[in-house]
Amino acid sequence: MSLVNALYDFFLTMGFSAITWQEIVMLLISFVLIYLALVKGFEPLLLLPIAFGMLLANLPLAGLNAEPIYEIVTNPITGEHTHKMVDSGGLLYWLYRGVKLGIYPPLIFLGVGAMTDFGPLIANPRSILLGAAAQFGIFTTFIGALALNFVPGLGFTIPEAASIGIIGGADGPTAIYITAKLAPHLLGPIAVAAYSYMALVPLIQPPIMKALTTKEEREIVMEQLRPVSKLERIVFPVLVTVVVSLVLPAAASLVGMLMLGNLLREAATMQSTLNRLMKTAEGELMNIVVIFLGTTVGATANGELFLSPSTLAIIFLGLAAFSVGTATGVVFGKVMSKMTGGKVNPLIGSAGVSAVPMAARVSQRVGQEANPSNFLLMHAMGPNVAGVIGSAVAAGVLLSMCNI
């Protein structure tokens, strides 16, 4: 009898006894995401940690997300009340502090800045406007999410709608930064939607780009960009930081770190000792943060919250966000093409939806399909990196206006 009892007690400590159907479904979803990341190559760098975080968080009784438990004890001599930690909490709970407190996304931006060449943008300053136009995707989706309030059973508050809209910025760190501040409970679905669609950019964008342009427009060859001087490269990050942070203090941590990374990159050619900092920012530091960020963001995908109609709505709205951003970018590209008398190929407009450098590569490919001697890559990198600044600015606006 005691043996049966012992076995039964042991069974109760096993995950099998406590697993819910939601957790089983979430485990299956995480398997699918691991498959997509590894076999289909969907942004494996982030999707794999996200998927594995999802797996870890939905293992019953493992308590990786458990909050620490404190006890208030009274010191018998002084009568003072002090905290005493009874349980130290789960590993992912502590790693998640970096997301919750808005530390990881700016650190990723530091690395992105160190890897990004803003030269094409400095050489052709007007291409910045295309990076602004593509941000329409963010705001139309924001409105779309609010419009869903008219549908019974669905409904998003203003901060939630803002977090969904930011998917249209096609910028993972920005989306995570905003969502962690405005609607942390939606972090799982939003991160998964943002990174999956970023991986799908080469599939989503070309049909929209082709539908909105004529063959003649796609064939336009743009003249080579001028070389950019050292002075411009150094002043640019300082200038952007000062201007953006003065206009939008809420965007300062994202833009500031992005530009610090870029300054390290450009200054490393002047002071070779800075090379070390640049290497760390774009290499090890970035990789460490990516692992922490991906795993803990995935771990927020709790079965009960994730498996709801609002997740489906978010995935649908995210697709709309990407499509609208691409379309407005291309339309604005057409306007610029007309205004410059056919010197601008409208295809570079779609690269305004960040997603560096995938969106620029799509512009290059679609352009070359129309005209094999067309090289749009560097021209598309201008709007592409401008899109990063643009979505950080849009994020700043949403943070300061929707934090209610």
């Binding site: 300053p125 409105i143 203003i158 200038l239 090289f375 890559l377 606006v397 949403l398």
Partner: protein, 120 residues
């Protein structure tokens, strides 16, 4: 703010302000970059016109290489180039010319093209 129409109205305000600020900041930056260009070395503009001229010369040459072009002429050019490179006393014979699938990434192609144009 809990009813849907009111939230939508606020959403529209946020959109207007948001897009306004995004455009304002980026247009501002774009003009500041123009000013910045004036401060940097002026020698770059001359080089640019020279490069665009070369661009124009380059295009017809590239068009001729496209598959639709005269294959016989292309073979003659390739054979002549090989003959010139090997010298007169070479026993090399060109038997067939096949197009090799180009697997170079776009980034490398751009880099190569820029290098070529900068040397010309």
């Amino acid at each position: 703010m809990t009813n849907a129409p009111e939230m939508l109205k606020y959403g529209l305000i946020v959109t207007l302000v948001g897009m306004g600020v995004v455009f304002l900041v980026l247009i501002g930056l774009s003009y500041m970059l123009d000013v910045l260009k004036l401060f940097s070395k002026t020698g770059t503009t001359e080089k640019k016109t020279e490069l665009t001229k070369l661009d124009n010369i380059e295009e017809p040459a590239e068009a001729a290489i496209s598959p639709a072009g005269d294959e016989g002429e292309l073979m003659a050019v390739i054979s002549a180039a090989i003959a010139a490179f090997m010298g007169n006393n070479s026993s090399l014979k060109v038997k067939s010319i096949r197009r090799v699938e180009d697997a170079t990434p776009a980034w490398a192609k751009i880099g190569r093209q820029e290098q070529m144009l900068n040397r010309l």
